[in-house]
Amino acid sequence: MKFGQWHRRRLGSVAAFVVPRVLLLLAAACLGFLFAEVIGDPVSQLLPADATLAERLEMRRALGLDQPAPVRLLAFLGRLLTGDLGVSWKLATPVSTLIAAALPVTLDMALLGVAGALLLAVPLSLRLAIRPATLSSRLSSAAVLAAMAIPVFVTAIALMTLFAAWAGWLPAVGRGEAVSVLGWETGLLTTSGLAALVMPAATIALALAGQFTRILTSELTHILQQPYITAAHARGLPPARVHYMHALANAWPPLIGALHVQLGNVLVFAIVTETVFERQGLGLLFLRAANDADMPVVAGLIVFAALVFTVLGLAGDALLHWATPRLREPMPNADAPEA
């Protein structure tokens, strides 16, 4: 194996990995800037109705809005490179501080929601894959489709009306108490925090479960027809072990791919869910900023979201590599000298 060639190939593959992602981040940053430009007039949101013309123009100058857009875009990108996401005009706080405060709130809910979705989807899809023709399977299939079709805010409000307004079992809004673990504030470790998480997480879980079930079911149906499954049954392994250890283990790769795609959905669902349940997370932050025409926050959040997607995409790809040993092996005969 020629040393230089191998390393160049490796470098090439790493570059092929990273460069498009960096370009994507750049494009997302420009898009974020553009979106911030069209959400409205920030001056009218910062000054009272009776502000004079002179005051408005002075405010525009102070906010830097008298500069032409390309100049501002370059300044924005420059600041991003130094890690400065800007300062909120309405709240006079750095955007990174706001994100740091809001992220745990959204994460609590998103993680629990995704976990809930998987908890619902995995057994259900196994069931559907093993016994597709029974009545209960058909009913559950229909239920899953229904869950996918119902808009998130309908689910959220329905849950809130049922469990909070009528029954009074769970708090209608808020986050409950949070405790700090290694500098990270989470509501997962307090009773009030968990109580406040049940409905938001359930909303997200119901919204995601449908898509996961569909993907897993089709994948599992295909896998269960494979010869090695029949062989495993023939060896006398208990069905549970066959399904969970052998079938499911091979169904992960497409699910990880689907998870990455669904991440975008999780963010959108989070915006709606946080608005309904009044959780001070990233979704609500974005909504408030858009309403107040708070340009730095809007642009900063879009860049942050792009960053998160990129990082998670990388993590997903790495996970995929680990989960699929086939991809780790070098191509056959790629480096062997000509026979």
């Binding site: 007039d41 009272p48 109705a49 009776d50 013309l53 409000i157 909070a164 209608a172 968990l194 009044e278």
Partner: protein, 565 residues
């Protein structure tokens, strides 16, 4: 027997580990389910337990209470809430009548020389005594460049301390209503402000906020205990307040719930005691419940339509070569075509108050003289024909969709009504940030027709005439918020006279004459006073202030249950 058991166990153990695995799996599932049940039970019991004990009055609002600098932000929500903690020279009661506040009485020694006599033995929440130094400092601070309250004090006025409890304000021109909007011009402790580096108001463009700007040191009936913007703000009764506060609520906890249906759900679930506001379409839900009710009325905000009568040709219409809105017959036709009562009953739940004026009748003494032009479609069509538009025309109506109550629905209703007189209205509804960007001076009044709501900050009719209906140029000089550019020099002349008229009766007469002209030629088209609805839990009573300011001293609690019935 034992040997048999041993043999069976041995046999079982050799068959495989797999069945043991399933056993383990089953155990795990059982443990999970059990712990989930325990958790739920624990959650519910803790939830129930935490409702007993000391009961604060819990209020949920729709906006954000952010920085607490009293001169920084001129916005109803902030100013109203700060008004529980801080006080001004005057105050307004539940009916919005002016009463003495930190000034016990005031007089004009000459038409331009005002004297305020201050209340004695008043202390700030940090214990320091209140005196004329604090008044002079606060008024000067409110006049500073970064203050949003500066228009409440004439720029050329001199503020003079006469002695520890007397302050003079000396004007260049007489202004009989100078103090009308001073009930929200709060007095800060000079010593405290200097010690906390708050000599000047926090500017809207300041990138950093000091911690002190999230606290408030006032003389009011409530003191601020804790404030996390957007999350929770806690107030406690000030037992050493100078006024009558015997039956005030002891403790108030304020939170924000932006989504209207969540706000109502929280009220019905017993999670909050007062919600402000209740959206109109949820009123029935609250009224129908056992543990809450709605308190409703009409607000000070007047909704009206602006028509571009400034340009020679409308920007967003199919009429070329002339501007239909310059013709008062067309404007009157539009006025007559609007069935404001139908809007009241169908869109506003019956709670709005149709207006004949551009100001709430409760703020104008001579309001009785004015009646709306009646809803009369036949007359409207006749006027359109007379004006030379027998086949009508098209025009775009600009509307916000998240600023006023049912704003977009109202625009759509008006569009439908105007269609009956052959005016095809295209409704362009956008978010308030984008709406105000278009229709105001920012984009040079880039609209042909728009919906607007106005609450006069001075609580007086003159500002309506000067701000909304005075003559202006294309850049807004003259009347910044006259979106349609309506202009009648007679109106401006009357306004100029009224500005310096010290006899309040004569002054009202002059303003009425200006209103009469605007009314007769439909310069702007008034619609209604916006409805206002708050939701309260059983056992809570409150008086609604028409200016929508939230004052805890107007709330009483007979009994708070804090749990659903």
């Amino acid at each position: 027997m034992a040997r048999n058991m041993l043999m069976t166990t041995a046999k079982t153990s050799t068959i495989d580990l797999q069945s043991e695995n399933s056993l383990v799996q089953a155990q795990v599932v059982r443990v999970l389910i059990l712990s989930l049940v325990c958790l739920l039970v624990g959650v519910m019991s803790v939830h129930a337990r935490s409702e007993k004990g000391a009961k604060p009055l819990r209020i949920a609002i729709s906006g954000d209470l952010n920085l607490l600098d009293p001169h920084s932000l001129n916005e109803t929500l902030t100013v109203g809430l700060i008004g529980n903690v801080m006080e001004a020279l005057t105050r307004r009661n539940g009916d919005l009548k002016i009463e003495p506040g930190l000034a016990t009485r005031w007089e004009t020694l000459t038409p331009t020389h005002w004297r305020f006599h201050l209340r004695r033995k008043v202390r700030f929440h940090d214990g320091s005594p209140f005196s004329a130094d604090d008044v002079v400092f606060s008024l000067e601070r409110a006049r500073g460049p970064s203050s949003q309250m500066k228009r409440r004090i004439p720029t050329d006025a001199r503020i003079v301390k006469v002695d520890d409890f007397t302050v003079d304000v000396i004007l260049q021109q007489p202004n009989p209503i100078m103090y009308y909007d001073w009930d929200n011009l709060f007095i800060m402790s000079k010593a405290w402000a200097i010690a906390n580096k708050l000599e000047t108001p926090h500017a809207a463009t300041e990138k950093v906020r000091t911690r002190a700007v999230l606290s408030a040191n006032g003389t009011g009936p409530y003191r601020l205990v804790r404030h996390s913007p957007g999350r929770e703000t806690v107030f406690e009764r000030n037992h050493s307040w100078w006024g009558e506060g015997g039956d005030h609520v002891e403790k108030v906890v304020l939170t924000t719930i932006r989504s209207p249906s969540s706000r109502v759900a929280a009220l019905l679930a017993g999670q909050v005691d007062v919600v402000i506001p209740v959206p109109l379409d949820e009123i029935a839900r609250v009224t129908g419940s056992q543990n809450a009710r709605v308190i409703a009325g009409s607000e000070l905000r007047t909704m009206f339509l602006n028509l571009d009568s400034f340009r020679d040709e409308l920007l967003y219409s199919d009429v070329k070569g002339r501007n239909p809105f310059k013709d008062k017959r067309v404007r009157l036709a539009i006025y007559h075509a609007i069935d404001i009562d139908a809007i009241r009953t169908q869109l506003m739940g019956g709670y709005s108050e149709p207006s004949a004026l551009l100001i709430s009748p409760s703020l104008f003494a001579l309001a009785d003289q004015f009646k709306r032009h009646p809803f009369d479609r036949t007359k409207a069509r006749a006027l359109m024909r007379e004006a030379g538009y027998p086949d009508g025309f098209t025009v775009t109506l600009d509307c916000p969709n998240n600023r006023y109550i049912n704003d977009e629905a109202m625009c759509e209703a008006i569009a439908n009504m105007l269609r009956q007189i052959k005016i095809t209205v295209k409704v362009r509804a956008v978010t308030k940030a984008r709406f105000f960007e278009r229709v105001t001076r920012t984009r040079k009044y880039d609209s042909s027709m728009s919906l607007l709501g106005w609450t006069p900050g001075t609580m007086d009719g003159l500002e309506i005439v000067t701000n909304l209906a005075g003559c202006r140029d294309a850049d807004g000089n003259g009347a910044l918020f006259n979106l349609g550019g309506y202009c009648n020099p007679e109106v401006d002349k009357l306004a100029a006279q009224a500005r310096t008229e010290t006899d309040l009766k004569k002054r009202d007469e002059l303003i009425a004459q200006a209103f009469r002209i605007i009314h007769d030629e439909a310069g702007l088209i008034p619609l209604h006073q916006q409805p206002l609805a708050w939701g309260v839990a059983k056992g809570v009573e409150l008086t609604l202030r028409r200016d929508n300011q939230i004052r805890f001293d107007l709330m009483r609690v007979r009994e708070l249950t804090g749990a659903p019935q």
